[in-house]
Symmetry: D2
Subunit: 344 residues, 4 copies
Amino acid sequence: MRASVIGATGFAGAELLRLLDGHPQAELAYITSESSTGEDIAAMYPHLRGRIDKKLVSMNDLQKIAAGSDVIFIALPHGHAMKIGKELRGSGVKIIDLGGDYRFRDVKVFEQWYKVPHADPEAKAVYGLTELYRSDVAGAELVANPGCYTTCSILALVPLLKNGLIETKGIVVDAKSGTTGAGRGLKLGSLYCSVNDNFHAYGVATHRHTPEIEQIYSEFAGEDVVIQFTPHLLPVDRGILATCYAMLKPGVTDADVAKAFCDMYGGEFFIRLLGKGACPEIKNIRASNYVDIGWQTDARTGRVIVMSALDNLVKGAAGQAVQNMNVMFGLDETTGLRQLPVYP
Amino acid sequence: MRASVIGATGFAGAELLRLLDGHPQAELAYITSESSTGEDIAAMYPHLRGRIDKKLVSMNDLQKIAAGSDVIFIALPHGHAMKIGKELRGSGVKIIDLGGDYRFRDVKVFEQWYKVPHADPEAKAVYGLTELYRSDVAGAELVANPGCYTTCSILALVPLLKNGLIETKGIVVDAKSGTTGAGRGLKLGSLYCSVNDNFHAYGVATHRHTPEIEQIYSEFAGEDVVIQFTPHLLPVDRGILATCYAMLKPGVTDADVAKAFCDMYGGEFFIRLLGKGACPEIKNIRASNYVDIGWQTDARTGRVIVMSALDNLVKGAAGQAVQNMNVMFGLDETTGLRQLPVYP
Amino acid sequence: MRASVIGATGFAGAELLRLLDGHPQAELAYITSESSTGEDIAAMYPHLRGRIDKKLVSMNDLQKIAAGSDVIFIALPHGHAMKIGKELRGSGVKIIDLGGDYRFRDVKVFEQWYKVPHADPEAKAVYGLTELYRSDVAGAELVANPGCYTTCSILALVPLLKNGLIETKGIVVDAKSGTTGAGRGLKLGSLYCSVNDNFHAYGVATHRHTPEIEQIYSEFAGEDVVIQFTPHLLPVDRGILATCYAMLKPGVTDADVAKAFCDMYGGEFFIRLLGKGACPEIKNIRASNYVDIGWQTDARTGRVIVMSALDNLVKGAAGQAVQNMNVMFGLDETTGLRQLPVYP
Amino acid sequence: MRASVIGATGFAGAELLRLLDGHPQAELAYITSESSTGEDIAAMYPHLRGRIDKKLVSMNDLQKIAAGSDVIFIALPHGHAMKIGKELRGSGVKIIDLGGDYRFRDVKVFEQWYKVPHADPEAKAVYGLTELYRSDVAGAELVANPGCYTTCSILALVPLLKNGLIETKGIVVDAKSGTTGAGRGLKLGSLYCSVNDNFHAYGVATHRHTPEIEQIYSEFAGEDVVIQFTPHLLPVDRGILATCYAMLKPGVTDADVAKAFCDMYGGEFFIRLLGKGACPEIKNIRASNYVDIGWQTDARTGRVIVMSALDNLVKGAAGQAVQNMNVMFGLDETTGLRQLPVYP
């Protein structure tokens, strides 16, 4: 399986290289960067030294890249993948986009939140949250890999929404992400001295992962769900924790809640249910494709609080992309993804 | 002004020493520790070396300590201060307790959440959130210094509750604290390798600061308020950020919200209003007595999200205690507390 | 290959479990802990949840453990392994000790620096710095896995000592280690608030890895080498950087230095030579078995400065132990150890 | 005393603002920035909000700034101060330069290491390491404030050099600095994800603080001293630790070493001698003007290892600058600088 990575010099791209290197059936074909064309990837990411010695090429000749690849991962800022997808769809190559371009069933929602017109509105992409849409992914040509906050938030509440255990109004998702989520760009807010010993919210009421979460919540709830989503920046490299608040419907018991999680995720390799009263920790899933989920109910308030943790670069990006690739090519879904978390 | 610190070897106690050392009108009388009686405080906290060379004494002879002090700060785990308070009330010394013993108007609430009987139920303590109860503090013999999460959460929403701008049902406070909040005790969860690169919730639905926040919210709302409070552990030493969610009442405008904050805090030295759309950062208030507050409204959900940040060891403990001392002794409230935050 | 881990609840033990889980030819037999006998290892290390669900047993019945194992890793504080080794030598099981007990050719040196009598002085252990003693390891029954500082320091200077390029007098090794090196014990100095934002030396002139480094330096130099070794504690979980200073002998050129490194390590999978002027970074080797080495020469002073970086839990402990296991059992040395570093 | 800060938006400039704000006899006159002229300093450094609400001006009209100031601090990259100094010398204003321009007695050494011609070679600047050159500073018009690594390294060994207790050959200074030392510029190496969990050397054998250290070492030794200086980047915001290695001359005793330190620094407010066997920690001096010094001798090697710790933004930059200002204006040297370290 020849795999190419379009946009290999961002954190998600580099993580794809790490995971594909350890994948027994994948082989790197092309890796691209427009700003660093011609450079050795190991010069930009010395941790890859001695193992991935490919040169970065331009993505100008997409047809050549597609001809030499069985699957193409796109790890670019939003707005680029839809042009690439438009050109390559139908060429036989499988496409997995890690950005936002193809994640919305309704192109208008994309255009409203991302403020750019969509270049490829006819595309039929499958939303690649593997555990929820596995069979669709299996037959897909084009997979829209979900956002990092999105995967974390969706997996936390979908079992309860699907089973009608919580009110669809009043949901609050308070999420906290590591700094790799902000990318490798040179911004004042990404400096060590800006992030270390610090913590703050950002994008309050306006973050683009909001409509993506609502889309899937609504689908499983069977009605429109509007949520409050607040991201925060953690002084860590990797990891997202989403603390999700919802009102339990009258009469719902702790057993109902537990059953909903077990029924839906009991057989999932990458989802670990910690149970009621347990608080997942981001360090326990670091550098792995796992999602750890715990919850608590509060009789005083009638609420359930669900907490989920994942590594934003793995299950929140490159790992889930490889998981989708495995499904698309009929491999065991866990191939190349069974590494245990790195602790501490 | 002779000040003594009962329990000087915890983080709050040591921070009191730092602040009292810089206070032009205070002089250290006694500092106590039962486990380290006879030791030099600088041996336990070498940052104090050369400046505070007092030996730690036992608190066994409370009367002697009281006789040699104008004010006594108690920085002990809950359960101790109520015995000390019982013994010393009426002796003429002013008492400021940094623990939970005297924070509840209703002793039964204390006993229910702290699971110990109260030893001094007749005491009339003033709740020392200075900005809200300044005149009461001025005349108090015994001040219950508020909790760290509590100060942060209360200041965030009280202006909106007082002015009836938000619904009293459905309030969620998602709070994140630095590791000094867990104390200097030897616990697996407090090890560097447990906290660094990590993040998780704890005490979900059960944390003891919950009823303390509710008590003051209810007082300002004029009706019983029940909240959802969730604390999390941040990989930083100092700082708390509370992200507070509430539904705006119908018709409430952004201007109403801004006015409520300005009316209440416009003249406060230690509260800095960052305004709508601004996200406070814990690093911007570090090592100072400031509270930074910002907020956002969300037309999609009808919610207001208020964020407040403070240093849990200063405004959340020792700093507010000194602020209360200043008020109790008729000094300028900012005496010894005007240091700017240390950034970065 | 059935592998047992004696002392599985320390950081090195837990890292062995992570690596053995990913090893295609190893299978866990017994894991032991005296303080947590009967507990589930995943209760102590939740990152292992769902993958390693073994219960911890006591090491009391060593013969039973040996009978059920092909190889036993000992990850205990010094003083224990020599008793285990004494009992098990000759029983057919291979033994790899990660502690200090068997690292010294001269038992007196051990006794002098570790201040305990040796219980098994007749044992013929092989010093398991794989790249230097590979053929000895291949035939060994008992391997003494080197210390973390030791591996890092030795690999940095041995090529220059072996080729007589540096003076044997005046060598200074200034080393810096992550906090996992201090273990998981509950110590004031290991608390998050003690380590975060901090840095300091410790064990100056007295650290036990000093004679271990000197032993191997001397062997390759062909004369007694006495060094200055200073360890420091870094506010990171994993990683060691050793900055090693030595005087170049008269007439030695940059080309001589480069040749010595290339000749000795050019064919080594786990040693990456970054070359002259390059500074290795501990993040580039994190969670991998790699050692990155760079150097600089200084015409003003006549010195060469060699810097080496490794992960103290992998190449400095569990990874090298698995590497030795591979060699002892005739496997490809890199089996189970080819994971790329986790960056960032 | 009207004080102006030329280059107020770097970390050293911002720290000057923090310290001058707390100085009872200083008042801010002008603060300048060429890139942010017209902006509010608190918009760039929100920790200053509500306290320092000055607008940044250009330094174009230097004469006006000088006329409105009693003292001017220059906190710019090297190469600028010498032009400012040339223009302002003789105008009556006192000048304290925090950069490298005026630190060298021999302009050629500056030109060789900084690779620019000197614009003001006739200037007679005083080297402002206050403890060593206090009386010169007192009468100076122009003070060259020492570098951060420099202050730390010089104070560590000067007592031993002055008293002829160590060999002048073979000195190694292995130094480690927090990330504020790299400034607030947008560089890949200064990103959080580049620095967190990382550690590495840089500028090996070529760092510009080397000749500055040698200049003062030589002066106190009475002969030319050439040293090996290696800086490293620590994952902390503030703090430098220098580990300094030197050979004791024959017959020198521990008592001689201790006496040298006590004689020279016994009366210094900002230097705390921890004594033999003690290892200073950077967290114990954080945000203060203190320098903590400890040492160890090693009978095996004949060496003394001296360790010194300071906050690179305070005693290594802005704090020492204010200390010099105090001396220049005849104030108590500790005015505005008595704050205790912030711990933890």
